[in-house]
Symmetry: C2
């Protein structure tokens, strides 16, 4: 009598569920179940302080990345900062150079918003023929959190920008004094000095106690452990905006300050490394995001791009945030090539990998946002498609 | 030259920020900074498996409660459940009784939404003259998460309800076999069988691997570690819906199945136990929520309710979710009595404590949603106001 229909598997109530003993008592700060194992990728390295770890996006539900699993990108490790000692200096082309303590900043009007953060090098392996084998390794340098902080414009109004102020050099308190040149202007309207992440203080790996947040731009410019903003007329052309995080084009010239993260999407189920247990009902799902505002459409193909259908988006769709798409699917057990294609409110449509390479070549490891195809075999195995 | 204006304090760049050594390397699963200490309340108890712990709402940013700090309410402790062994049985007045494994449930179409969860006993101390001294102890049995799961209607369609089905008895797998009678009907349109919380699997304290989520209703009926739904024509009238979580009225009768959590709000800064360092600029902030849908207005008073002004709400305002309000305030250094008052889309306005007691008396410890006044002294101390 007890059996599951609609092509699903089945189970039975077992003795394992017949718990007769008291469980764990109340606790001050909870931990996840020991049965849950999702982790960021970490690699054996002689310099594990300078590298990156990727979020397990295929194991993420909804649009929020657990803070413990938010991707990392460090250049001198994660500093241990006492927030009571931390300060932010704003000086240079300003009328009133100021130093703010964390207590000062927390007295100013604040804002909370959900935004994605993506490394400019995310999906860098996709430029090459041997593409990432799973969604974590090929797309996992992107995460999404609720951020809380002071609007950048509020503190810039307090110091007063001089007319010749056009840039600010953001500097971190980590040992490498991470620096980036940030162009001042309208695109910083939603920028903030963030001290909160997912309801609690920033995690150390995301800049505790203070980071720059410039929603929609590449992660590298959103300087962590922020200790200084030097307002200038010109950029510094530091290492991380010239030799890195710039796009070397086929003609040998390089695009620099390509800060905006263009519309992008990826299917997280089914995705590389997974295996469908058999033909039948599934829910295809994935994530889409764009630095330009809201995602307006995600299309999904099951035949390698010959035909596309719209995938419903979870509501509400938020600006510059992960957007979850879901589409019911009955797999007939035959080979399939599945992919997603995002469109944003600016009208921008995510290109194919081939279209992207036709314009940008393959000299650069940065800013890849081409369509990602997953290949499903007759045995249910899901693999990346090599070019 | 370096000094802060606008009544703020000041700090200086110190040697403590001159880090010259590499920080921590990349890690698989991150931890919060050791400088961050927020914790749920836990009390010395001979039965710490049967009790509650409260979220530190005054230390929460934005609308999301970190999963590690989500309030707890257990009746037999937190069971350690292997999700591969866990099943959900649905039987009784159905056409096709079914058993679902967790893998079965995850193949069904899913949904993610941000919702508050509040214990029916939250703010129970506010019924008495000696009210809670801080926001955690008086309002902390409420939290807000992004939940992911299968719509309840999807599984009820699979089993097929018989015409006489009016209730379902939800049963947990904890040692006490926690049970509640759930009225079937239109109010369950947004109910789900939840397996995800804030991007990862449910935390053990919130029901890993599966819980019932009935947004807007009291937490107790949203049975955790859910293992059985028995569809019936009548409720069971179990202990937790008769002797507890019901409202004993002045005439000796009891209201039962008072499931809807009415509109409510509380100021989290400044709040009980905090101290303002001096006159000057502050941001007053707090949380509002309602089981009936969206919060449409929050008003704040600084003079004990003589005058009120609207506090801006963070956008987007979500249905049955925490809503953050913020209002800049210049404190003149004189005693003040501050409070917030929420209105929801049904037109319901949060009552004063006195209005609530006039109708419901003080026999019940449940479902308090009166206005909470904080008293600010000339020395900046913030205390609860006793009736």
């Amino acid at each position: 009598m007890l059996q599951l229909g609609v092509g699903l598997g089945s189970g039975m109530l077992t003795r394992a569920q017949e718990l007769r003993t008291l469980g764990k008592p109340l606790s001050g700060y909870g931990e996840r179940s020991p049965y849950v194992k999702a982790a960021r990728t970490t690699r054996q390295s002689k310099t594990p302080e300078a590298g990156s770890s990727a979020s397990p996006l295929a194991e993420q539900y909804g649009i929020l990345t657990p803070s413990a699993l938010h991707y990392e990108r460090h250049h001198a490790g994660v500093p241990a900062i006492d927030p009571a000692q931390h300060t932010l200096l704003i000086h240079g082309l300003v009328n009133r150079p100021l130093v703010f303590s964390m207590a000062d900043l927390k007295r100013l009007p604040s804002v909370s918003r959900i935004h994605f953060l993506e490394c400019g090098g995310n999906s860098g392996s996709e430029w090459q023929p041997k593409t990432g084998v799973d969604v974590q390794r090929s797309y996992g340098l992107a995460s999404c959190s609720e951020w809380t902080g002071v609007p950048l414009r509020t503190v810039l109004e307090l110091v007063g920008l001089k007319p010749e102020a056009k840039w600010m050099i953001a500097e971190g308190a980590d040992a490498c004094r991470m620096q980036r040149s940030v162009p001042l202007g309208k695109e910083l309207d939603d920028a903030m000095l963030a001290y909160g992440q997912n309801g609690e203080p920033l995690r150390p790996e995301q800049g505790f106690p203070l980071r720059l947040l410039t929603p929609g731009w590449e992660g590298n410019i959103q300087v962590k452990w922020l200790r200084r903003l030097h307002v200038t007329a010109e950029p510094y052309y530091v290492r991380d905006e010239t030799s890195k995080y710039s796009d070397l084009m086929p003609d040998g010239k390089a695009r620099v300050f390509t800060l905006m993260q263009e519309a992008k999407s990826v299917i997280t189920f089914p995705s590389g490394g997974q295996r469908l247990p058999g033909a039948g009902r599934y829910e295809v799902t994935g994530l889409a995001w764009t630095g330009r505002g809201k995602i307006t459409r995600v299309e999904v193909t099951f035949d390698g791009g010959q035909t596309w259908q719209n995938a419903p988006l979870d509501a509400p769709v938020l600006r510059k945030a992960f957007t979850r798409f879901r589409l019911p699917w009955v797999w007939n057990g035959k080979p399939a090539a599945i992919a997603s294609r995002a469109t944003d409110e600016s009208g921008y449509v995510q290109p194919t990998r081939e279209e992207l390479i036709a314009v940008r070549g393959t000299n650069s490891g940065f800013h890849f946002n081409g369509i990602k195809v997953w290949n499903i075999g007759a045995d249910g195995s899901v693999t990346h498609v090599e070019a």
